[in-house]
Amino acid sequence: MSRFTFPPSIPSRPVYGTLAPREAAQHLMVADAEGAEALLDLAAAAPEIMAKAHVIYIPRNAGEALVEKLRATGPDILHVSPSYLASVPRLRRVLSDTVMGAQVYLAGTEGLIGQAMNEALQAGIPLAAIQTEHRGSVARRVQCVHCKGITEDVMTDPFVCSHCGLNLFVRDHYSRRLAAFQGVCIDAEDPGEVPEPVELYK
């Protein structure tokens, strides 16, 4: 099951919806891992939009099966990318070439959704034309507030910053600019007093 319902949190924490097809001349879809399942649901609800869809998909650990299922929906373009970073030049080009009225669909992990959302907004896509749906891992993209380094796919709280090695407490405080949650040193006052890491949302 790729769906997860996040418990209520502070207002800065992003919330996600369910992708719904909309009338448009162009559809841009970006997904990673189990996010493909949200696109498959979208295509099942409105098969006709796929002929006008440019799909960028990053399989990560989800395997080839989802790639073949996506291809079977008949998208205008399906681009499979080895990582989000590798897909960014294409994403930017597609966003700059699109027109007002185009619809953007983002699905998968929070890191993918947040970063692609940033690119879309910077390109001038109105927020109201962007839909998101979380699927798959609840891992977070976290910025260490001390060294500013970003650690991807953080699964436990606290965790060790992959840049400076501090023990970081994972907050719900989120930066749209960075598309990352905030990680704050948990043992600054009593160095070494670090609680046992627990898996997020366990």
């Binding site: 009338e23 001349a25 007002m100 009225g101 619809q103 390109a123 001038g124 109105p126 109201a128």
Partner: protein
Amino acid sequence: MSAGTQKIPVIVTAKVPLNELVTRFEFQHAEGGSLPPFSGGAHTVVEMQDGDKTRLNPYSLMSDPMDPSHYAISVRRDDQGRGGSVFMHDKVQVGDRMVISYPVNLFPLDLTAKKHLMFAGGIGITPFLSQIRQLERIAGRFELHYSVRSAALASYAEELTTRHRAHVHVYHDDQDERIALADLLRGQPPGTHVYICGPRGMIDWVRETAADLGWPDAAVHYEEFLAPQSGKPFDVQLAASGKTVTVGEHESLLEAIERAGVDAPYMCRGGACGQCETRVIRHDGTLLHNDHWLEDDEHASGEKIMPCVSRFEGKTLVLDR
């Protein structure tokens, strides 16, 4: 005290007929010195002392927003209207003292936009003139599509096409020129915002076409000043001030309330801004809603009215004012 009703005494320094319908009026501060700067798309409410009658009409400021030496408005003569534009054309002369309100902007540019796509119909050109001045300063990207009845009535078209030949397109009704709206809206880069000022039909046409092509509402801006409609006279009780006043045939409910000496809030006087929203305590008859501020369910509820443009027919109307 109403928002935007702080007053400025001014002197009429120019009255320039542009064509058979439109005349430009320029104002300077009556006590000398600077007028407040404003933002493109702002309007001012001009007070007209027409005999014992005070008229308050909103007009878009069309001069350079950063030029504090004077303001300019353009007034289209409407002989079928309630008399404000005819008063401006026939009675106001250079050298007259008048009172205008501080500028208020209900039609500002969205400066997060990467491109501004403007649609003007007739006298609806005026807010765009100040917006374009503002954009010139910041090298903002814009494109104006201006629909006019004929070349003779195309106010400021020549000035605009001379200054911005590549960005201004004029369409003449009498030569069957039409804006290729759907094609235009289909080909706009991301970050484009649409602005419309003109007759109701034009505003609806652009808004509906944009919505059909997937444009979000937040990227579509429009301004329409409604003139108050004339209608049958009716009585209104003002519960909070304990007064009863009769609203005349060619008078708006708001004007009648003001005539009774009650300081009611207002800003645009055109059914758009929401400032004058008033609670209906009791009514026995029909509220004739003419605004585009209240939602349909609020219109149907009979609990609110916008006295600047809406009227009443029936026995009793009691307002919380």
